[in-house]
Every structure is written in structure tokens, then in C-alpha cells.
Amino acid sequence: MILSPEILTLLILNAILTFFAIIAFYLSLRIFWKYDKNSSAKSQYELESQSYLAATIIKYIFAIKIPLFLFFIFTLDKLSGSIVGAMCAAGVVDATDYGTPLLMLKILNLYLFAYWIVLHNEDSKDENQPYVREKFAFYCVAFFLFIGEIVLEFVMFDAIDIKSVVDCCGVIYSSSSASYLSYFLNMNQLVLLTLFYTLFLLMFLFYKLKNRYAFTLVNLFFIIVSLITLISFFGTYIYELPTHKCPFCFLQKDYHYIGYILYAFLFLGTFYGLTLAFKEREEGYKLSLFFNSAYTIGVSIYPALYYFKNGVWL
């Protein structure tokens, strides 16, 4: 393992989060089994008290997870300097078999923990505490995924060998590579773009119709199509290079770290969209539309500006 300070820091913090996650898990199990709102027994009072501790821990984990995730990406990016062949985080992610699943798991967990917080907030508003058991049961499931992420992260860092030569994003994401990704990237760009903008407009349609399940579904597809179009189309306009298809390079300083902002918008927009499946909230719609629009406009600016400046497409 490369024993760089960044990796050690990530591992130390992961250890702390794990320690507290386990405490919360233990408490969540107890609460799920024994919580009885109507009981006046002392044990119930204790459980109630402990539910605050569990909730606080989960909130803390989520609050730390976000900057830690950004730091994780940042570390991967920095590691690319030490690994031969890697020019950006893409190469580092690809350096082991664990990189891509880890990244996806991390993103999934962000969604899950954020969702827990929404659940918790709704539960806290109502005196009947309707979601107490659900939310802690949900955490118990999320806990396993969280531990999976921690273990996978450790394994991945352990497996990275600086002496191995990896491909850079130019190879990983190119149309000629054999990876499954290239299948999607090879699809007709016009089709993909039409899909992208159509999904975006559908969101507004379903907002007007107040059909929240359709809205959620559209958001789900939007995540997938956005990522594909980002890599195969919009990204190339950020780099101004038709062959540069990479979802990580624009996180770097050279591109003013725009990647972080775009991804943030996408995450927030789709996250709020997904929460609508759980509960109808006017603000859920609005926030989702706002961030998704911010994302769509953000990515669309690049090709638009390019065409404006140069009169041609890439």
C-alpha cells in the first residue's frame, strides 16, 4: 500500500466512522425490536433517549461523509501523479478491480444516508413518530452497505501498486476499448442527447401533473443518461477535445474544478427527485427542478459557447 498521508487520513477517519456506525447499529437494532411509544416503562424512556444518540451519530456520519468523499476524489486525483500512466483519477480508479465498484458504492451510500435524514426529519415533525422503526430498520440495512464501503476502500488502497502501469482515461473511455462502458458511449450521440433533454422536460411535465412516482422514475433515468452524456458529449466540450472522454479530468484545477459543482448539482437534483417517492412535498419538486436545471444549463453552456465561438461543433 502506498502509505501517503492522504490515504492514512482517509483510513483513520473511516475507522472513527465505523466505530460510531457500529454503536448506532446496535442501538438501532434495540430500538427496532423494543420501541413502544405507548409504554411508560423506564426502558422505553431509555430507548427514546438512545434514539437521539443514534440519530445524532447517523447525522454526524453523513456530515463527515460528504467532505470526506470530496477528499477521497481529491486523493485519487493526487495519486494519479504517483502511478505510471494515470493522468487523472480515472486511471487510479481503474488501477484495481475494486475502484469502480467502490466509487459506485460510495455514491449509493451518499444517497442512502441523505435519504435517512429526510426520513428522520419527517418523523420528527409528527408527534406520533410514525417512522421510528422504519428509519432505524433502514439504517440497519444501510449499515451493511456502509461497512462494505469501508472494507472495499481499505482493500482497494491496499491493492494499488505504484509499479503497475494503468490506462489513462483516454483509453478507458474510448470508443475502441472493450469495456462495457464503451457500449454506451458508442451509442448515437443524437439519440442520447434527445433522451437527455426529453427526460429533463418530462420532469417539468410530471411536476405540473403532480405525478410524483413518474417524477421519481424520470429522475432515476436522468442520473444514468446524464452520466453517459456527460462523459461522451458534454465532457468533450469542457476539454474542447472530441476524443477526451473522461468523467474525472474536469475535477482538476485546469478546469477550475467545475466537475465538483456539476456533480453536486446532479446529485442534489436527483436526490430530491428521488425523495418524492417517499413523500409528496412541494419543496421536493422545486429543489429537484432547481438543481437539475442548474446541472442541465451548466453542462449545456459548454457546447453552446463552443459553437458560438467557433461556428462548428466538435
Partner: protein
Amino acid sequence: MKSKINFYLIEFAINSLLRQKAKSIFITVVITFLTFLLASVFFITNSIKYELNATLDSLPQITLQDVRGGRIHDIDIKNVEKILAINGVSDASSRVWGYYYFEMLDVYFTVVGIEEFETALTPALASLSEKFDFNSIAMFVGAGVKKKMSERYYKEYFNFIKPDGSMKKVNIAGVFESDLELEANDMIVMSKQNVREIFAMSEERATDISVHVSNPKEIATVAQKIKEQFPSFKVITKDDLKLSYENMFNYKSGVFLALFVVAIFTFFIIIYDKLSGVSSEEKREVGILKAVGWRVEDVLKEKFYEAGIISVFSYLLGIALALAFVYLLQAPLLREIFIGYSDLKVSFRLPFVMDLQTLLLVFFLTIPIYIAATIIPSWRVASLETDEVIR
């Protein structure tokens, strides 16, 4: 879901911290100290790395050495011609240099030979060779060397002891400065002929061969070609050097960090313990807050604001102190641990290097950990039964 910042709560939190002076000061001192230590270590290593990289940058892109039995052996000068014939090589020249052991002070000087009309020189050496009188038996020395020699009263000249036991007197023509302190400090420059004499090296041999490549991106390729042509020689590229130094640094920092894990763990325990000792005063206050309608969540939030404020404040203080310690005071004591790569105690100034990464690293190693340590104690306090406290 987005609520505006509760300034009254912030104000109350600050006030609360001030009302518990002893505890607050203790915590501030502990966090500041930890931050200070961490930041200082990182600042020092960053500065050294920066200096090192800059030094390495001035090295030849490829160095060729004849290694026998694991030791560097003199290399035949005729190989220079052969190297020049390789495609992609823009320049190659023989280098004559070595480490001279000055027994009286138990130090090593780096003795470097230069030639008139030599092309592949560092900028510092190049400017030096312009004013150099290659006919004289004289040398230019670095500031550190001058100092060391003066200690033994060699002010105008120095007596080198040759391998056969006889002495060679060389006049000190002057002291040279270089932008790169690491480079200049322990170096002595004289004509190649004189160096050969001191180290008893024949005219047909050299210490190693430095190679320059016309296209920097092709360094690895050319190095490969050389390896194929001279399988017995050791070929070192600049990138190899950089990488090995980088990893050595990471290792050293890594070891330090491993020690820090212990320190952090201790830190966590101390904080936890300190916060768990809730004074009756504090208990009463929480009781009052809950009696007037604060929920457990509100009390917890307030405690977190306290934790956040004190940790951020201490963090900033620690960073400021570390900056002053490392760059103003030049990190006495601590730097000795890191500057061990050369046997001459290099007295150079740590250059100011500041990057976001270091600040982030120190941030992640202190603040989240402190806040984590406050979770359980804060919860305990917030959950106290109001009724019993008020009576």
C-alpha cells in the same frame, strides 16, 4: 429544509464556552497543540520536498553509471561517443565528482569537477565556469563548506589528502551562491583535472555520464534504448529519482503519521474523559434550558456549535503557530528529524510552501475527531432528566 443560521444560538454557544473558562482553555490548548504538531510536520516535509524537487530538476535527465558488485565504479569515457550516437540524445558528457571525507570534522564534501566549454551544466555551475580560471589550482566552495573549513582554520586554502596519502593543496578562490541552497551548501567546484587527482581517477575514466534528451517526453524511451545497448550499466532517469524520493518522504511521513494515530487516539480519550466530567453547574444549566422548552435536539445542537467553534478556532490558531514556528523560526529541533539525507548538516532556509492539501489534511485529522469525541458526552448531558435537576 434549509433554515437560516441561528445567530442567537451561536452567541449562546460562544457565551457558554466563555462561562466555562477552565475547560475551554484546556480543550483549546490540546487541539491547538495537536494541530500545531501535525501542521509543522507537514509544512517541513513539504518545504523539503519542494527544495528537493527543485534540486532534482537541475539534475541531468538520465544518468549512466557503471555498477559493479553493487558499488559505483568509474565509467569509461569512450562510452560518451556511443551514447551520443543514439537517436534522441541531444547531449552527453562525462561527469567527474565524488564525496570527500573530511576526517577532522566527520563530514563529507561533494567535490564536483567542471571543464571549460562544458555544455551540460546546471545554471549555477555554468555561471561559475565563466569566471573560473581553469589553469589554477583553485576551487569555489559553497557557504556551508566555507564555514566548516574555517572551523579548522583553512581560510585561504585547503589540503586534500589523496588516496596514496600525499596532500594536494587547493586555493579557495571564492564562495559561490546558488538559488538552490541544498545544491550549493556542501559543494566544492574545481577543474576536472584536480578532482581526478584528489580521487586518483584516470583520465580515461569518469564518475558517471550525464545524458540530455531533446524531447523530455521521450526520456523513458531513450533510457530504454541505453539499457538495451549497455545491459551492464545502471540507467537512472530523473523521474525515477523523483519517485523514489517522493516515496521515501511518504514513508517517513507515513511513519510519523502512524505515531500520530497513537497521538490522536490519546487525544480522543483525553477529550472524552474531560467532557464526561460534567460539573453540577453545567447540569443545572441544561436542566434550566430544558425546563424553558429546549428539546434534547436543541441542547445537542448547541453543544455541537460549541464543539465546532472551539475546534475551528483552535485549528486556526494551531496553523498560525505552525506557520510562525516553521517559517519564521525555521523549525528548530523538529527539522533535524527530517533533514537526514545528507551527512553535512545543511543550514538552508525552509522555503515557504503552502498548499490547500496540507490544510485539508490537518483539518480532517483534528476537527472531525474532536467533534466525534464530543458526541457521547454531549448526548449524556442533553439527556439528563430535567425534573431531578431543577428541584
